[in-house]
Every structure is written in structure tokens, then in C-alpha cells.
Amino acid sequence: MSDFLTQFAPALPEIFVLVMVSLILLIDAALGDSKRYVAYVLSLATIAGAAFLTARDFSTMPVLALGGLFIDDPLSDVLKLFLYLTVAVVLVYSRDYLRQRGLYKGEFFVLALFALLGMMVMVSASHFLTLYLGLELLSLSLYAMVALQRDSSIATEAAMKYFVLGALASGMLLYGMSMVYGVTGSLALADMAQILSDGTDLRIPLVFGIVFIVSGLAFKLGAVPFHMWVPDVYHGAPTAMTLFIGSAPKIAAFAFVFRILGQGLESQVAEWRDMLVILAVLSMAVGNIAAIAQTNLKRMLAYSTISHMGFMLLGILAGSQNGYGSAMFYVLVYALMSLGGFGMILLLSRAGFEADKLDDFKGLNRRSPWLAFLMLLLMFSMAGIPPTVGFYAKLAVLQAVVEIGYVWLAVAAVLFSLIGAFYYLRIVKLMYFDTPHDTTPIAPCVDSRVIMSANGLAVLALGILPQPLMAVCMYAIGASF
């Protein structure tokens, strides 16, 4: 009995979330539309409870559980805490937006929490099966979230594309995993790493498997040339869903990539590094160049996401502890900036008005100097201009790339980020240099406004003192090696 408990104890936060989601589903169905706030409050309470459990049982040493399917290490705990924070902020930002559009339903909260559960499983997986299980739980929740706005043809189209391409990617990933299983005879990442580091004669099936795995990962990350779904889904989905897709899942995706490439296939770095180099360069190029041509802010931020994922890959392809730590720092910073960027669209929108055109930001400085200032910080951070935290994220991945001797890659990266600076500057230009054509007062509710202020100022505060976050990332990665 006690052995049974020790096997399950590390997964307590996941079990807690699962139980709570089931409860919320039942309670909300019983209470009906007028008492939706119960589901909202319970969802936030669930996240707070999970955060409490994770923080209480913070593990300083990796602990394998559930027969090697599940790992509880500093990396997973740190990432889970950031996931909770991100999802909680998403829920706060989204509330008014969803209510104004008739999407304020119990399903949203249930799906969001299921997605969170999927992400938690992904970051704690130590086995191909759990990795895949977590990924599918996340993906299926997201497909449904995008499709939640049933009567919008553009949202339905986005959901369809997302589903078909996502399923294709899952298939490729599974195929690659089966090839690697064929070579190593194990699905557990630790055993796999052990067997591969001893060397294998089956080079061709192994490389074949790695190609499929990397393609599947690239699909999920939205790296070029597997990026086609990203702009359509980001653009088509209701902004609250875009906010969700664009923030927390990136953190989980980092963990997913790190677990497979950095831990399972660690010894094969020479094989997958060149693939990631190509993906990274193409993502930075296409993302930054295509973003210039966009007139819709959500679409522009979608392309910007592609380029950011390219940057994050720079850290991973370094294949060093330093590189993974930098990539982790990058992805956390990116989630923070993405929350702010999409959150701002939510704050400025109102019933019957989406605020997702670039022109909707014209003259924001005259309408609300404070929100304009926060958006200015977010845009300069995305462009990687100090003293915002985005700069240190770029610095971290660039130094990781230079360390392995790929100076040319660092030069290419900074040149593409120069192109990227143009369209972020354009947002600042619209807000500060132009006069508004829309003078409706901006009245976001108090809690969104407070969280947005904290979000924007965090970008600046972490830019002045980046060390705490940097140290957390380096510690988490270091303890997982």
C-alpha cells in the first residue's frame, strides 16, 4: 500500500487537477449560465491548489514514478509553476472577452484545465508513451477550444486546419518514435539514452526515426517549413483562444523538445543539430519577413511567434547545458511577452469590436498613455531592445550558439531580428506618432488592468534585473542533467 502511494505521490498535482476538472464539469452543468462565476473561481482555485502542491513537494532531485513513466525533477516543477501562472493570467484576461461574445461557458474552463493537465504531463514525462499522452490531451483540448465559437466560419476553418495538420504531426511523431523504439528496444527516455550512448549498428533506422521526430516537433512548435497552420489558427481562433495557444503550450513544447532531444536522444546531437539549424534559420527568415506584410495584429504576432520559436531552437541546437538553459529562459520570456501582446488585444476589444487590426492601435497614446506605454515595453521586448527582458533572452541564445562555434548562425539571427525590429517599431509608431480614428473610451475591468500592468512592468523589471529568472532556468536544467 505504501509503495503504491509513493508511486503516485509525485503526480499529486496532476491527480488534483484531474479530480477538480471533473468536479467543475459537474458543478457547472448543474448551476447553469447565471452562476458561471463559480466555474471561473473554481478554475482559479484549482490552479492555485496545484501550485501549492507543486511548491510544497518541490523536488531538488529527479524522482522517477509510476514505473518509470513519470518524472518529478526541478525542471518539471519550475515549468509547472510557470504554466499555472500563465494559464491563470489567460483566464483573467479572457473573462470579459468571452462574456461579450457568448463564449463564457463551462466548457471553456474545462478545456483550459484539461489542456493544462496535458501540459503538466508533458513536462513531467520520462517515457515516449506519457509524452505522447500529454501532447494529445493538450492538442485535443486546443482543437475544441478553437472550435468553441461554432457560428464563426473562420474559427471553424481554423479548428479544422489545426486538427488535420495536428493529427498529421502526431502521426509523424509516433512513426518516428516507433523507429527509435525499434533501434533501442525501449520507450523510456533514460534507458534509450543509455543504449544510444553505448552506440548502435542500426544507424539508418535511427536517423530515419530522428527525422520524423524532429518533423513532428517542428509541426507542434510551428517552425518553418511546418508552420502553415500557425497564422491561420492564430488569426481565426477567438482572441482568448489565441492567447491560450500562444502562451502556455510553448512552455510545454520546450519541455517536450528538451525531454526527447536533450535527454532521450542526447548522444545523437550531431544528427539533429543540423536539422534544427535549418529549421531555426528558415523560421527566423520566414517569420520575420512575412510579419511585415500583415495588417492584422494577431496574424502578425503569429509570424512573430514563428520567428521566436526559431530563436528558441538556437538554444536547443547548441546541445549544451548552457544552451538548454538559455532556450528555457527564452521560452519563459516569450510566454510573458506573448501573454502581454495578445492580452492587450483582449483589453482593447469590446462587444462587437475585436481590436485586432494594426490600425486599431493608432493613437493609443492619446487614448490611454498607460496601456500604450505597456505595449511599448512589450514590443521593444519582442524586438530584443534593452533594457527589456527580450534582449537578455536573445543574448542568452546567441551566446549559446557562439559557444559551439556557430558564429555565422548568430550573425544570421541578429540580421533577421533587425528585420523583425521593423514591424514591432511599426506598432509603436501607430500608438505614438499617429492620431486615433476611434475615440471610444477604453474601460477594461480592474483585474485585467492590474494584471496587464504587472505583465508589462515585469518585462521591464526582469530587463533591469534578469538574474533571478536566469538563475532559476540554469538551476532547473542543471539539476536535470
Binding site: 538553459g325 497614446n365 498613455p369 511599448l376 521593444f380 531592445i385 534593452p386 533594457p387 534582449f391 537578455y392 543574448l395 542568452a396 546567441l398 551566446q399 557562439v402 559557444e403 558564429v407 548568430a410 550573425v411 541578429v414 540580421l415 531580428s417 533587425l418 525590429a421 521593423f422 517599431l425 509603436v428 509608431k429 505614438y432 506618432f433 534578469p466 538574474q467 536566469m470 538563475a471 540554469m474
Partner: protein, 494 residues
């Protein structure tokens, strides 16, 4: 109490004052915003004064040093310190900030708090650039100052301000991003240090030095600006408000030139020696060709902008003569140009506020209506042309002498600036100030008021004092310059 942290005060007092100004909010509190801004700028200047009084001119070591761990993960420190090269520039910047606040007192009526705050924050960041001894800290200040400058040009600028703001931002960003990669490379070459003084002793191969030379040259050359990457400057100047032009010309151009002395020469001495001819050629082209371009301008601000490029060509020319005379000449020229260009842009601002035109042809006969102003303008025009007894003469003369020692033809081409400079400045002056009043609006122009007399008078004193007795300036620099040259003379090849 603050004796240990003078440099931190010099950086953070203006920035915090800027934040305080921002807190006054909308234009209803414009008067309050102006007074806080003035108090902040004055306080920023006052806290910089101990840098002069406590400065030891007998040593080339860094003074007023502060060092604290900032980002231990990458061994980045909050490391500040000044020597004889950077200290005068910090003082110049703090001084000009006060003038800029006063210059914008009445002219700026729209978003006053944001305007004043942008200048104060930028002033603090620029002080940070001059005081940083850590590469990444330097880079943060170096890039951070682009944000307020971008807003200043874009929000309060002229009709074509958006184009100018983008051009300026992207041009300078291009240069600095390549510099960032070089810095990261140096970090690994020096065994994991971002300390600039450690980089000064890091051995580097010739290929690496050459590549980094061009990266740094682009970063600082764009800021200086050197021919042929100078084209952003006339656009930015023309579109910027008066205060923006003053800061651009007087201060930000110096940041580029300063980078040559702190980074290129000491970190890459072999490449600098090898490629000196290249920089000298670019500088001479700037001096001679841009001088001719200035002659053809019809817009006064553009004319002064081109004249700035020509004068900065002198600075870089002096640096690459590798002699104390040339280097000190370049530094004196930097400070002198800070005063003179600030004064000339303020003069143009005075005229623009009254007539709302910068075209030379719209003026004429100004001396009949504004005699006091005409006298001030005369002095500054003469200083720009390099008349002896003004500060403009000292630096140019030193650089020409240094150039003559190296190569007669360098000196010959450089000396043409005395002709071209006199030609374009005095010709502009003649067309604007003398002759008959042809434009009826000029008839209505009033002479300078007390605020403007204060601004121009203070600068006139500086220009004359430096022209008549430059020794205090060169004394401060001398030991640092000699030490820098000794350092540059040593090869760093492995």
C-alpha cells in the same frame, strides 16, 4: 555619503527625474512637469560636478569605480568607472541636458511631460554609456538610448518624422547587433568575461580582429556618422524638434566616436593599425566631400547636419593618427562640436519658432530686426568655421598638425575644411542675416528673449573659454590618451 556612488547618481538621477516627470501625467500639469524636469536636469548636472573636482589628472586608471555582480550566470557586472576620455563627455552631456530642457520650455506645448521625460531618461542612459566598463552594460545603455530618441523624433518631429525615426532606429540597430555578436565572441575568447578592461588584454588572431573591426566600425561608424553610412543623420536632424537635434549633434554622435577609443583601438590594435588607411580615407571623404554637400543645402538644419558629419570626420581622422596630438585634437573637437552644434541648432530653433521655416531663402536682413541674436549667431558661425580664439579652431588645428606629421596629403585634404567650412557657414550666415528684408514676416520678428539669451550666452562663454584656454581640457585627457596609445602600440596577435 554618496562619495562611493557618484557615477550611479549621474546615471540614475536623470532617469528617476524622468520617471517623476512622467508621473505628472497629462498636459494640465505641464508647468509642474517643466519645473520638475528643470530641477532634475540641474540636479543631474550638480551630481556630476564632483567628477571634475575629485578627478586625479595624474593617473590613467579608472576612477570613481563601482563594481557589483549583476548577472552572475554570464559573469556580467554592474561595473562603472571613468578616465580622462569619458569624464569630460559625461559632463558635456549633463550640461547639454539642462540647456535642452530650457530650450523646450515654451516651444513644446503638446505632451510636455513625455517630452521632458524622454530627454531626461536619455541623458541618464548616455551617461551610462560613457561610464560602463562592462560590455553588456555598455550595450544596454547604448541600445536603450535609441528608444527615447526614436520617440522624440517620431512624436515631436517635422512632417517626414516617421521615415526619419525608422531610418535612424534601424540604421543604428544594424550596427549595434553585429557589435553584440562580436562582444559575445570576445566573451568566449577572454575566458568568459564581459569586462572591457579584460578585453583590452585578450589576445586575438588577425582574422578575428579584422572581422570584429568591421563589426565595431559599423556600430560606431553609423553613430558617428561616417561616410557612407551617414544618410540617416540629415533626415533625423531635419525632422527632430530643436532639443532632439541638439542632443543628436552634441551628444549621440560622441557616443560613436567614444566607442572607437574604448573598443576598437585598444581591443583590436593590430587590425586598427592595418586598416587605419581605410578609416582615414572615409574620414577625409567626410571632411572634403560632405563639406561640398553642405554648401549645396537650402535647409539650415540640413546644412548644419552635414557640417556635423564633416566635423566628426575630423575626430575619426585624429584618432587614427596614433599620436597624442591627434587623439587629443579629436577629443577637443568632440567637445567643441558639442558646444558649437548645440548652439547652432538652438539658433535655428530661435528662428524657426518665429517664422516656422528653416529655408535659407525665407530669411534675409535679420540683423535689422534681431541685432542681439545676429551677434550670437555670428560667434557660433565663426566657431563652426574654425576661427582662431573659438573652440572650433583648437581641435581642427591639433588634428591638422598631427596629420601633417604622418602624411602631408592627409593634412592638405583635411585643411580644405577650413575653406569649405568657412564657405558654407558664412555664406548661409550672409544670406540669412544680412541684406535687405525681403520676406514681410521677417519684419515682425522679435529679438531673443531672456531665456534665449541665457541659453546662447552660456554656450558663447563655453566656446570662447575653450578657444582661448583649452589647457584644462587637454590636461584631463593627456595621461589617459598617452596610456591608450601605449596600449595600442602593443600587438595582441597570439
Amino acid at each position: 555619503m554618496f562619495g562611493q556612488s557618484i557615477l550611479s547618481l549621474v546615471i540614475w538621477v536623470p532617469i528617476l527625474a524622468g520617471v517623476a516627470v512622467l508621473a505628472t501625467g497629462s498636459d494640465r500639469n505641464a508647468a509642474l512637469a517643466r519645473w520638475i524636469a528643470l530641477a532634475g536636469a540641474l540636479l543631474g548636472f550638480i551630481v556630476a560636478i564632483p567628477l571634475v573636482t575629485g578627478f586625479d589628472t595624474g593617473t590613467s586608471a579608472m576612477q570613481f569605480v563601482e563594481k557589483a555582480a549583476w548577472i552572475p550566470a554570464f559573469n556580467i557586472h554592474y561595473h562603472l568607472g571613468v578616465d580622462g576620455i569619458s569624464m569630460p563627455l559625461i559632463l558635456l552631456n549633463s550640461f547639454i541636458t539642462v540647456l535642452v530642457v530650457i530650450a523646450g520650455w515654451q516651444v513644446i506645448q503638446d505632451k510636455v511631460a513625455q517630452y521632458m521625460a524622454a530627454f531626461l531618461i536619455m541623458s541618464g542612459l548616455i551617461n551610462g554609456v560613457f561610464a560602463s566598463l562592462d560590455g553588456i552594460l555598455f550595450y544596454v545603455f547604448f541600445e536603450g538610448m535609441l528608444i527615447p530618441l526614436y520617440l522624440i523624433v517620431g512624436v515631436w518631429g517635422g512632417p517626414n518624422r516617421v521615415y526619419a525615426a525608422f531610418k535612424f532606429f534601424l540604421y543604428t540597430l544594424l550596427g549595434s547587433l553585429l557589435m553584440l555578436v562580436s562582444m559575445i565572441y570576445l566573451y568566449f575568447q577572454s575566458g568568459g568575461s564581459f569586462d572591457i578592461q579584460t578585453w583590452h588584454t585578450t589576445t586575438l588572431g588577425m582574422t578575428a580582429q579584422t572581422l570584429m573591426f568591421f563589426a565595431f566600425l559599423l556600430a560606431f561608424g553609423v553613430k558617428v556618422p561616417m561616410w557612407p553610412v551617414h544618410t540617416w543623420l540629415p533626415d533625423a536632424h531635419v525632422e527632430a524638434p530643436t532639443g532632439g537635434s541638439v542632443v543628436l549633434a552634441a551628444i549621440t554622435l560622441k557616443v560613436g566616436a567614444y566607442g572607437f577609443l574604448r573598443f576598437i583601438l585598444p581591443i583590436l590594435p593590430d587590425a586598427s593599425a592595418e586598416l587605419a588607411w581605410f578609416v582615414i580615407m572615409l574620414s577625409l571623404i567626410a571632411v572634403a566631400y560632405i563639406g561640398l554637400v553642405a554648401l549645396a543645402q537650402s535647409d539650415m538644419k540640413k546644412l548644419i547636419a552635414y557640417s556635423s558629419i564633416a566635423h566628426m570626420g575630423f575626430v575619426t581622422l585624429g584618432f587614427f593618427m596614433f599620436s597624442p596630438l591627434g587623439l587629443e585634437g579629436g577629443l577637443v573637437q568632440m567637445i567643441s562640436h558639442g558646444f558649437v552644434s548645440a548652439a547652432l541648432f538652438l539658433c535655428i530653433g530661435v528662428m524657426y519658432d518665429r517664422l516656422h521655416s528653416r529655408q535659407i531663402k525665407d530669411y534675409g536682413g535679420l540683423v535689422n530686426k534681431m541685432p542681439v541674436f545676429a551677434a550670437f549667431f555670428m560667434l557660433f558661425a565663426m566657431a563652426n568655421a574654425g576661427l582662431p580664439a573659438t573652440s572650433g579652431f583648437v581641435g581642427e588645428f591639433m588634428v591638422i598638425m598631427a596629420a601633417a606629421k604622418v602624411n602631408f596629403w592627409y593634412a592638405f585634404v583635411a585643411a580644405t575644411t577650413l575653406i569649405f567650412g568657412a564657405a558654407y557657414t558664412l555664406w548661409m550666415y550672409k544670406r540669412v542675416v544680412f541684406g535687405n528684408v525681403t520676406n514681410p514676416h521677417v519684419e515682425e520678428m522679435k529679438d531673443v528673449n531672456a531665456r534665449e539669451i541665457l541659453l546662447l550666452g552660456v554656450l558663447a562663454v563655453c566656446v570662447l573659454a575653450m578657444g582661448l584656454y583649452p589647457k584644462p581640457f587637454t590636461d584631463v585627457m593627456h595621461v589617459s590618451v598617452v596610456d591608450l596609445l601605449a596600449h595600442v602600440a602593443q600587438s595582441k596577435l597570439p
